[in-house]
């Protein structure tokens, strides 16, 4: 199962600079029809053809699920990343044709919740923009707490406040405003589900605070939006297909495997879903595990790697691909 086998030909119908770091891209079907219905929290994978290099990056859909004439994603520019966001910011223009995937939801609402309590940090706001639209259209009860650096980077805070009024709570670092999480958690009605999307440190903080307050893990939902990190190039032998590949500095191992013509399964491309898990046949060197999937035992054993985000430094690596 993979997004790549169900690709949608799309046209970029709008590019909006939301603030100094974030741009929003609108996609419509090239054939003019409606895009597939989706649920709040879903992402799409955008294929970027940058000269001879192909990158596939996941981005949360932030348009309302009620209107599928277009899909909208908001992308924060990452000046030290592998270049996917830079490509989107610098090279993608109105009218460009791009290939996107069907929506996939790995961060869906638990519809049993009596109330949805959402905590966002920075660009982690995007899935909540779609989820709050979905909930507001029905009878969904929600409350959103959103931490930002300053007003200039409070992406969509104005839009969310206009749509949802006092259900939106904003915290600006430069104004010394802080989220009193323990108090917010303590005052929720029974049956509330907690959702968090933001930097890794924030996710850990929210999960730990909730656990300390006695929240069951089944009621705490989180989405990491970590992209693959660049790193030193390394060589890999793919034993099943008998191919030697080199993974470039700004390339993920998964992308290098795909560039060699292989078609491994994937869903999230962010080290979360487990689809691309690959067996290691032998290695001489050090793994740089960046995923949220493998257990500590898996890592210790040296028998598995998640090629979407993890890397390797050393003499040789042989994978079962």
């Amino acid at each position: 199962m993979k997004a790549g086998s169900n690709r949608i030909e799309a046209v970029v119908t709008n590019v909006v600079a939301v603030n100094e770091l974030v741009k929003r891209f609108h996609f419509e079907r090239a054939d003019g029809g409606l895009l597939p219905t989706f649920s709040g929290g879903a992402h799409i994978v955008v294929e970027m053809r940058d000269d001879e290099k192909t990158r596939l990056n996941p981005y949360s859909l932030m348009s309302t699920p009620l209107d599928t004439r277009d899909y909208r994603v908001s992308i924060r520019r990452d000046d030290v990343g592998r270049g996917g966001s830079l490509f989107m910011h610098r090279k993608v223009k109105l009218g460009d044709r791009m290939v996107i995937s069907n929506p996939v939801n790995l961060f869906s609402l638990d519809l049993r919740a009596k109330k949805h309590l959402m905590i966002a940090g920075g660009i982690g706001i995007t899935p909540f923009v779609a989820q709050t639209s979905q909930l507001a259209a029905g009878t969904g009860n929600f409350e959103l707490h959103y931490a930002v650096r300053n007003d200039a980077l409070a992406t969509y805070a104005d839009v969310l406040r206009e749509r949802h009024g006092s259900r939106i709570h904003l915290y600006r670092d430069d104004h010394g405003e802080t989220l009193d999480l323990a108090r917010v958690l303590a005052t929720q009605p029974l049956g509330t589900h907690l959702y968090v999307c933001g930097p890794a440190g924030m996710i850990t903080w929210v999960r730990n605070t909730a656990a300390a307050a006695g929240w069951p893990a089944e009621r705490v939902h989180f989405e990491h939006f970590a992209a693959p990190q660049p790193g030193r190039p390394f060589d890999v032998r793919l034993a099943v297909s008998g191919v030697e590949i080199q993974v470039g500095e700004h390339e993920s191992l998964l992308e290098a495997i795909e560039a060699a013509g292989l078609d491994p399964p994937y869903l999230c491309r962010g080290g979360v879903c487990g689809q691309c898990e690959t067996n290691v046949i032998s290695h001489d060197g050090k793994f740089l595990h960046n995923d949220h999937w493998l257990s500590e035992e898996d890592r210790q054993s040296g028998c598995k790697i998640m090629p979407c985000v993890s890397r390797f430094e050393g003499k040789s690596l042989v994978l079962e691909r």
């Binding site: 199962m1 086998s5 219905t37 989706f38 649920s39 049993r112 089944e218 869903l267």
Partner: protein
């Protein structure tokens, strides 16, 4: 196109039978002369003409009669259709999927007109012409799941996905091989599969769950399962076991051909877009032994499969009592010749 809908019963006088064309399109489930569990999942894509896989949701000559039988079951036992409160959105997803696919596959039978959330649905075989508001259950005579599945052959389980598991939180189940929605409602994937022998140890369910949780929108899958049924009863439910259980003691060498049926389930899996739930349609096809042996290949192969079936599986499928009689009857049609590859009749 013109489907010649049959008037027939699945109870009392059991007037169900298959036309010769319907026999040819029967989804015979055995690719070789023996059977063991496998996950056997494949992409559910529209397939060859004149097979049950031509369209995503097959409508055949039994459509009207099967829907009448479902209405009888529901009138006696409304708990055959249930939906926990958080599953209403998945019900609307199901209604949208079934209406759009039926209207696309069979435009002469079904028409759907959408104007925003104002929908108009025409079902000509069942004489239905309804206007309703998508998302507003008060504009339909039943909830969205029950409304559309009273017009769709096969059972439907709707599985919520959360906490790294799937939960049987809604469905309509009236044509089942001895399982009960009312018993299973609210259970997770491992709980409702607990009675199945051997497969747990083989790791089948762990692998299947992993696969299903990753199933994506727009990429449905299918598998099949099989059992046998005495008399052409669709509703072989635990609730009505007292009505059909004893039928298994009535098989004689003289009545095998008409009384004993191969029962094949085509099970499909769809990711639903708004609710992120999984829709699991289970479509039942029945074939009399007299109809099966019109294909010499199917007769030879089914004889060998049934004869060599492991005892645990025969026990689980409820075949133990009449298996020797049916194997003996089928042996007359098996000259020992090799069977050709593939599933087709010959």
């Amino acid at each position: 196109m013109g489907i010649n809908f049959r008037q027939e019963t699945f109870r009392d006088d059991y007037s169900f039978k298959n036309s010769p064309e319907q026999i040819r399109r029967f989804p015979f489930p055995f690719p070789e002369d023996k059977y063991m569990y496998s996950v056997n999942i494949e992409p559910h894509v529209p397939g060859l003409k004149d097979t049950v896989f031509e369209h995503l949701f097959d409508v055949d000559e039994h459509y009207i009669s099967e829907m009448q039988d479902r209405a009888l079951v529901l009138a006696e036992d409304p708990l055959r259709c249930q939906s926990l409160p958080h599953m209403e959105l998945a019900g609307w997803d199901t209604l949208e999927l079934l209406m759009t696919e039926k209207a696309k596959s069979y435009p002469d039978l079904f028409t759907l007109t959408r104007d925003g959330d104002k929908w108009h649905w025409i079902n000509r075989p069942l004489g239905i012409d309804d206007h309703f508001t998508f998302g507003d259950s008060s504009t339909l005579p039943y909830g969205p799941l029950e409304y559309i599945t009273r017009q769709s052959q096969g059972d439907f389980a709707v599985l919520d996905q959360r906490d790294n598991n799937l939960w049987m939180d809604a469905g309509i189940v009236t044509t089942q091989a001895d399982w009960s929605l009312d018993f299973d409602i609210g259970m997770n994937f491992f709980e409702w599969h607990a009675p199945v022998p051997l497969a747990h140890q083989m790791g089948v369910f762990t692998r299947a769950l992993k696969f299903l949780m990753a199933l994506q929108q727009g990429q449905p899958s299918r598998r099949h399962n099989w059992t046998m049924t005495i008399n052409s009863r669709l509703d072989t439910s635990p609730e009505n076991f007292h009505k059909w259980g004893t039928d298994r003691a009535t098989v004689t060498p003289e009545n095998v051909g008409q009384k004993v049926h191969l029962r094949v389930e085509v099970q499909m899996f769809f990711r639903l877009p708004r609710s992120n739930a999984l829709l699991f349609p289970i479509r039942c096809y029945l074939l009399k032994m007299d109809e099966l042996v019109t294909s010499p290949k199917w007769a030879r192969r089914f004889h060998r499969v049934l004869r060599d079936l492991p005892n645990e599986l025969a026990e689980y499928k409820g075949l133990v009592r009449y298996r020797p009689t049916v194997v003996e009857w089928l042996s007359k049609y098996d000259d020992g010749a090799p069977t050709s590859a593939g599933l087709g009749p010959d």
